[in-house]
Structure formats: C-alpha cells, structure tokens
Point group: D2
Chain length 328, copies 4
C-alpha cells in the first residue's frame, strides 16, 4: 500500500521502517531533514513538504501523522486543502481525544476521514510490533487493515480479532480515548513498581534513623539485592510484566539509578485520564496518585509544604527551617 508519514520522531521513524519491511511504500516528511534522509536509506520516499506528498500519493490518499500534539493543527491546515473526499488521515499521536473529535468533524465537512489510532509500544515497537487502538469511520479503518497488520506484532496467521494487535474501538476519538486509559493504567503500574522498589531500597532504614516507638529495628535491617529481585520476579511471579522487564534492565545497568532524575515528566495522557475520571464519576485513586506523585517530584507541592511548616510553627513552635534548605 502507498501511504504518507508526516512526523519522523522516534515513533514515526520506527513505524516507517516497520511498514517498509512489511512491503508498503512510504512517502515521508518532517521538518527535520536528517530524519527523512535516514529513512530514505531504508527505502522511504522523501517529500519536501506536505503539499508535495498530497500530490504524489495515489487516490484515495492515506496520510499518517505521527506528531507532537502542538503541531497537529498546523499540519492539518497544510494538507486539508490538497485532499479530496474519501482520503484518509490517520492521527497516530498522543492527542487529546476531545480535540480529536473536533478535528474529525472539521475533516468530515470536506468528506475526508480522520482516523485516530492510539499507538503503544514505544521505541521497542520496531521489533516487538505496535499495539493499535483505532477510532473513526469503520469502513475507512477496514481499508487500512494491511497497514495495521504490518505495524502490529507478528501474531500467528490464524489470529483473529484483537489477538492481531489492532482493534477498531468505535466512533471518532475512541482510539485515542482507549490509548489515554492505557497510559493512565501505565502510570499506575509504573508507580506500583516504583513504590515497591523504593520500599525494598529502604528495607535497612533502621540502621540509618533513630529508633521510633512501636518499631523494632530488627524488622528493618535488610540490605536487599534489588536488581536480582527484579529479575527474579520476571520468572513465574504474579506481577511479571513488560514494565517489570524494563525495571530489571534499568536496575541491572545502574543499580542506584543515579543517572536518572528524581523529577519525573508527565505527558498529558495521565492528566486526561484523571479528567475523564472526574467527569465520569469514576473513582481512580491509584491512577491519580501516580499522576500527582509526578507533580510532586517536580516540586509542585513546595508552596503547600511551606504552608504546612508554617502551620506547625504557628501551633507548635516547630521551626524546621530558617533558612529553608534544599531537598536533601
């Protein structure tokens, strides 16, 4: 199949490679020319700009956008004028599904199909395959099955339905909605692992802190082999998972994790999941704790904490400050 790919970051580039390996002809475009050139070596056709791409693609056109959220509307406005009814745009990025609904309506006016495809798999997807959650017009989605098949994990030929690694989830936005919840769960699972390993890391805390009432120091004097435990749990435990595989690799390479920042970024999907929870009346304390933990990691709780110290000072005369010290 011939299709365009706009946006050649880590995700877009690897997906293009996997598509080419799957026998597809991919026309690529990115503001970063080096990214295009690298793919040209793999057989991609480099397009100077989106308009050029629209001109070269056979009708009905298929253009896959793999863009940061901030660039989607810009690219959309560049290509829409060149598209005809029946053409298909795929938004494979991590867009907010409510924005996706609006964009789909905008395309619908011109008869252009706007499919939203949530893509999971990260940088490992090139080898492992990508998990695809698809929303929008079902007929348009059906037409792209060869593309989805190439991107999804190589499943046994007899695989059917969701087992093939891609799924039509429903009307416009549903693909991004499902991807959003997927990432929400990802936040929760990551935090569960992180808290657990943090507990293991502190299992010897009694040797470093003064005794406290009701706590026997003998109960907290274990020096545990964290990297080995992570590896162990990959074999037959209830929590074996791909994220645990990655944790094991991380701890193997850098047992103290010193090269990694204690300030954790968040990318939007986690936030949107909590908004959906609040709107829907669905309690999601775990997913929310995971999100807020990342906010706090970046010092966003500092003012709140200063007020707590101030209150403690006011009622108890506790002054654990003066001057404020940086977090040890």
């Amino acid at each position: 199949m011939e299709l365009g790919m706009i946006g050649l970051g880590r995700m877009g580039s690897n997906m293009t490679r996997r598509l080419i390996r799957g026998g597809h002809h991919v026309y690529v475009n990115d503001v970063n020319l080096a990214a295009s050139d690298a793919l040209a070596e793999c057989g991609a056709h480099v397009m100077i700009d989106p308009a050029d791409m629209c001109a070269r693609l056979p009708s009905p056109r298929v253009i896959w956008m793999m863009l940061p959220v901030g660039r989607i509307d810009l690219v959309l406005s560049e290509i829409l004028p060149y598209l005809d009814p029946g053409d298909i745009i795929v938004d494979g990025g991590n867009a907010f599904y409510q924005d996706t609904q609006a964009r789909a309506r905008q395309c619908d006016v011109r008869g252009v199909h706007y499919l939203d495809v949530g893509v999971s798999g990260g940088i490992w997807g090139l080898e492992r395959g990508y998990c695809l959650m698809i929303g929008g017009d079902p007929v348009a989605a059906k037409r792209l099955e060869p593309v989805f098949m190439a991107l999804a994990p190589s499943t046994p030929p007899e695989a059917a339905g969701a087992e093939r690694g891609f799924l039509f989830c429903g009307q416009s936005g549903s693909g991004h909605f499902v991807k959003m919840v997927h990432n929400g769960i990802e936040y929760g699972m990551m935090a569960a692992l992180a808290e657990g390993f943090n507990l293991l890391e502190h299992a010897d805390f009694a040797s470093h802190f003064p005794p406290q009432p009701g706590v026997d120091p003998d109960h907290y004097s274990y020096t545990l082999p964290l990297a080995d435990i992570a590896e162990l749990w990959r074999h037959g435990s209830v929590i074996s998972s791909w994220l645990l595989d990655l944790a094991s690799m991380s701890l193997l390479l850098d047992p103290a994790l010193e090269q990694f920042s204690p300030q954790v970024a968040d990318s939007g999907e986690g936030r949107w999941t909590v908004r959906a929870a609040v709107d829907s009346g669905v309690p999601c304390p775990v997913l929310t704790a995971a999100l807020f933990g990342r906010y706090s990691s970046r010092g966003q709780d500092d003012f709140a904490n200063r007020l707590l110290s101030a209150l403690r000072y006011q009622f108890g005369g506790h002054m654990n400050s003066a001057p404020a010290t940086s977090r040890a």
Copy 2:
C-alpha cells in the same frame, strides 16, 4: 531429595505434584485426609501426623510447611520436639515477616534452620512454575537448591542467578519481606487495571446522567468492547502483563463480571506492606489506595460516609437520606 510437605491446600498440593514430577520423594500431611489421598495417587507418601513424618524422614530432615498463617505456630510446636540440629523447616506460606523472625529465633535455639520462602504463582504455578524468594541461613538454603529448582519455572539450563526463578534474598524474614512487597505491588497493579477498565466501562456515562457544567456529552458516549481491548493490550502494549492476561480471560468469560463480588477480600500482605511503608517513611500512595479501595468495597467506609451526609445536611440542608438506602 526426600522432604516432607505439611499443608495440602491449593498451593501445597500443586507444589507437591511439581516436586514429584521433578523426581523428589515427598512425604505429605494435612488435617484434610482427602487432600493427602489425592496426592498418594501421584506418588506422595501419606503421613498420619507430623510426628510420624519426622520419624520417617532421613536426617538432616527437610520439612516444608505450606500453611495458613493461623496454623503455623501450632504445627511448629508439634514438629520441633522431633527435630534435631541441622534439620531444616521451610515456611512457604504468606506469614508476616516479623513473626517469621521470631519463629526463626525459636528454632535457632534448637539448632534447627528456619527458612522463609515467599512463593508466587498461584494456582497456575503447577504448570508455570513458582517464583521463590528465600530468606534465612544461606548454607541451609544452598542445600535445598534441588528442591527450589524443581519448583521454579523451567528456565534454560544455562540460566544463572535470579533468572532461575529462585533467589536467596538475605537473612531470616527477608524472603517473606520481599514476597510482602511483591504482593503490595500486585495490589497496586491490580487496582490500576481495575480503575482503567472501570473508566472504559463508564465511557458512555453521558447517556445515563444529566448534563453537568464543563462536560460535553459527546465526549462521553463511547460503548467500548472491554474484552477485546483487554486482549488487544496483551499484544505489544506497554502494560502487557500476566495480570492483564488474567483480566482478558475474566472479561472474555463474563463481560459484565456479574458473577464476581464487588466486595474484595484482602489477605494480609497488602496491609503489612503499608505498615512497612509507614514505618520506613517511604511514601506508597498507590499501594495504599489499592488497599483502602478494598476496605471501602466491603462497606468499611460507611460510618465515615454517613457523617459526610450528616455534615452536608447540617450546613446545607441536603438530606439525601431518610431513610438510608442500600448502595444501588
């Protein structure tokens, strides 16, 4: 190797079967004779009582206990008098690691080794193998390697260290400590999945509830194929995991999960994990939210909620009560 197994519940029975398949001679005992008889058919030697077992086992003896926490001390008091210095008791149950430390000291006085082995794998362990976390005397643990090898997943012959599926974690209690944290993580991961699927389940809530400010009904009118999504995520997604495999099976068999209770039990390990977090000064909001969610599922928040309704009535005249109705 010849060893005794006391406690033939789901875990103990399956482990015995796996040990026998691995070429070991297992002497079994349980208060439930039917459980013993079932294992006799597989080649286990049924012992009438623990004393009998101690008499029959070659020296140095190895006795594995696979008991509910409430029975451990009883069985220990029955067998200790028959044991000699150098014998090994293995506690493979979900005991509180602080109690394990005390039991190990009690055995140590008599020269008997008390190994704690956290066992993960559940009812699937028979085929899949068990993940073993071991604490206690390292020499005694080394002696039991053939036993651990038979229980652990069948890993490639060249596997080394933690890859073999069993690991010596450290001094007495550390095996149960690591298992405790494992289960704490399990609680968190399970809750992350459960919250996520609950969100998907309510993605059409706008069709059932009156509109609310700031919420566009079009954003919440998806009817999503939950079982398919669970299956999909097993293929290449970041959250692929054994628990997701189980969720997929559950939703396939009973999409509305109606046969399962909304009241969720908790087994002790989750509680102990939070205690350890509190004692250690390690924030574990996700693991704790998972535990408290189970408490609430059993109505343990009812009095608190009644007080909230009372306060709302007091300051706002809101009386959503009179009489109290059961949870819809």
Copy 3:
C-alpha cells in the same frame, strides 16, 4: 439600596431576609410562587417575572441571581434584553468559573457588568452572615459594597479589608474560582473528620473480627464516646472548626448516624477543584481522595471491584462471590 433577587431556594431566601434586615429593598422572583410569598411577608416586593423586575428596578439596575447551575443561562437570556449599559448582574450561585468567564463576556458586549460572587455559609448564613468572594469589574463591585456589607458577618465597625467578610478577588471568574477552591478544601476537611471518627467508631474492632498477625486484640478494644469526643475537641484542640461544631451536633442528635445515608452526593465544586489541580500541575491528593471517596460511596467503584475479585479468582482460586452479595 434597591436590588432584585432571582432564585429563592434556601440560599436566596435567607439572603433576601438578611438584606431586608440590613435596610435594603429587595424585588424577588422565583418559579416557585410560595417562596416569593413567604418573602413578601418579610417585606420583599414580589415580581411576576424577570422582565417585570427589570422594569421596576431603578437604573443602574442590580440583579442578584441565586440559581442552580442548570438555570443560569435561561434566566440570563430572559433578563439581558431588558438591561442597559451600566447595569449589574450578580451570579451568586455555585457556577463553574470557566462558564462564568464566558457569561461575563456575553454581558460585556452589552455593557452590562457580570459579577461572580462565591457565597459560603449555607443555611446558617442568615444568622451568621455570608462569606463573599467577588470577581469581575472592580468599579461595579465597589458600587455594591452596601449590599455585601449587609450579607457579610457583622464584624466590628472598624474592620477593614477581608476582615469584613467580603473580598474583591480579581477579574471575572475569580470569585467563583476562589469559592471552588474553598469547597475543595471543605471536601478535604470533611473527609479528614469523617475518616477520624470512623477510626474511633472501629476502635473496638478486635472484639468483632478474628485475630490477625501482628495485631494485638488489646490494642483495639476501646468503646469510645464519639459524641462526647466531638464536643471535647471543640474546646481548645488544634482541629476546632465550624465543621467540627456541626459534626458534634450530628453525633449528639443521632450517635449512630443511622438516619443518614452512606451514599454521599457531590455538587460539582469538588470536581472542578480536581480538574483545576490536574490542569495546573498542582498535586492535590487529599482533595481528590475526598472526592473519589464520595464516588465510591455511591457504588461507582463496583465494576472495578468485580474485576479485582475476578483477578483474585483467576490467580488464586479465591471465589468470594457466587453469588455476589450486596454490601453488608
């Protein structure tokens, strides 16, 4: 001062009474005629419809709306055509501040000032006075000071600034924003009290439940006088507060709180607070836990909990279901 009041529920009616007591002339309107009639007895002028009210009020007009969020836009569309530049509309309800911004822009086009005034105090405000948080045009707000003065608590004549019980917070929407955060804090404080009293209520749990590892039954066998404790804490404790006063009254009247529902409603402000937290990157785990606790109290966690039970069944063979029982 002459002003109109549209919306005569618990809040609007009591505020009208307080305004009349303060020497103001109030023209009232409500779809419920009985509410108007009751106020006529106190000296209010009953208006048949909003148009009538606009005709009778001297220019520049002041109309205070005290409406449920679902009715604000309707009433606004009814009165706007009758208003002139310089007139002032006050929205004193619990509107979503983002909607308030839009409404203010809509009025601004016609030269009409739209002030948002968050009002706290509940049904006690009639005697205790109302706490007022004001956003919008500062000149218009200044013009209404006599009205705010009558509504706010009777503070000493020399009181200045915020001590007077009303405050100009900033541009349009800021009054409702501050009220929203106030209610968010209210949710958190209420939940803190509710959790604490729930703990006291269960301080004798060891007499009702089987023993568990690491827990000495003697530590949990207190039967505590909850109503007395609530009263006690009102006198000199760090947590003395108006909400505690109300808790004390509630427990005095109905110590077991049996007449109050364990299902707790939420009114929007709590939700919007969490949305603001998520948008702002400000971690609010306490306020969010309070909101989600209310969701769970209404069974909104049921599907999640059924999945947890299903997972436990899948990996451990635990079937605490079959059939599902209602929450005890």
Copy 4:
C-alpha cells in the same frame, strides 16, 4: 492541689504556668535547669531530681510527665521505686498508645495508677486552655478533676461533660488513642488547606507554562491575594477553623512563605493513625495522603521517582536527566 511536673519543654512549662494560675502547687523538674528556674519565678517549686520530687509530694502523689517519647521509660524507671500504691502518674506526652498500655500494666503491678492524657492546644494553650483526652482508671481520673479544670479552656461555670474541655475516654491508652486520631485529623485538615492555597498560588500558571491541549490559558491567569483570602474565609465560611486562623497569620507575616521549609517533619501520631487504620480495616485515604505528602516533601520518594524516569527512558527514550538535577 499539689502535684509534680517532670518535663519542662514548651508544653510542660506553659501547663505549669496555667496550673499555678489556677491555684495549684507545682513541683517541677527537668534536665534543663534553666527551664526550672524560669518557672521558679512564677511560683513553682524546683526539685533537683525525680526522687526528690517523690519525697516532697504528699501522699497519694500525683506526678505529671510531659516528656518526649524517647525519655518516658527512663523517667518512669527513676520514679517508680519511690511511689506507693494509690499514687498517680500522668503521661501527658504524645506517646504511642500501645506503649502506654504496656506502661500502665507495669505500674499496675505496684498499685500505681498510670493515666494517659492526650493534650492538644500547642503553644497557644497557655492562654487558650488545653483540650484533654483522658484514659486509665476512672477513679484516679476523677481525683484529678481540679487539675484538668485548671488546664482546660475557661468554659462557663455551668458547662458539663465534654464541654468543660476534658473528657474521660475509657480504659488505659484510650486518651492517647483519641489524641492520636485527633492528630491524624489535624494532618488531613492541614493538608486540605495547604493543597487549596497551593492551587490558589498557581492560579496564574498559564502565564508561566506552555499551552496544553484542552486547557484555555484564560482559565488560569488569576493573580490572587492569598493572605486576604485566608482572612476572608475566617468570616462566615464553612471552612472557618483554628488552623485557618493560623494560616491567615502565616500568610500575613510572610506571603510567599519563604522563611518556611518545603520539607515537612512528622511526629509519630500521624504514622500511628495510619497503622491503626490499616489494622482496623478502616479506609483513611485522606489522612494517609497527608502523611505520605510529608514523607515525599523530605525526598523519601526519590528512588521511586528515579525508577520512573528510568522506565520512561527504557520504553520511550525520554531522558530528562543526565545529569540528575536538583529539584528546582
């Protein structure tokens, strides 16, 4: 009444002053002689050591200990040999109620009454009075009513029961148990306030951060007068409370709270509350979030956060590190 006071920190000294003002004769002792001397000027009798105090007090003796938890057992062992059956020791500190039970049993063997009295009020108690929660032998407690009366807030003469500001809560340890829960609630209320003010503080975040999907910058461009808002809420709002009074004072003195540390200490009571919640099966998500927030404020989540960054790097190639930067 004649009584001894051992431990003359902020709490013990002020309580002694209030007792003397109430007409009591107080014999004081502290390892810090300056503290004793300061009280001598107010009329206290300085005792060189606890033994001396025991010798001077009339029988049956009353000795009030106001000690840090780490010193209680030491002082107890010093005075117990000098006490006679019928004597009363009061433990007014923030001891762990489970330890209190053990100490009471130890005293009981010698016929000495050990009363536990939770004391709330902080440094303001001298003027405002102390709120007292009393556990132990009811007859002994009755005997001390004149002492409690002097310490408690000056309530109207006709006040009865809990209104007097002191309350007999039940058997040994119950006073400290109730104080523990009081402090747990205090943690929750403080955090609710802190989170709310943090939200207000960030209400202009859209001016400082890049735009994000689904967020209109106009919704987050308020610069709010925090100190005024705190003052305002003290007048007639639902959240008016003593802690809000203190917050108002803090923000008035130092609007940016720069002199206060963002690292918040925790004192034990909050931890014990969560332990009790876990043991009792009572969900306390708010109180626990408040506690964990303090842990995180001290960097106790750093290792967990590093693992999150590592996982993000592993699956997404996100490297927001290299080298790790300190929290801004």
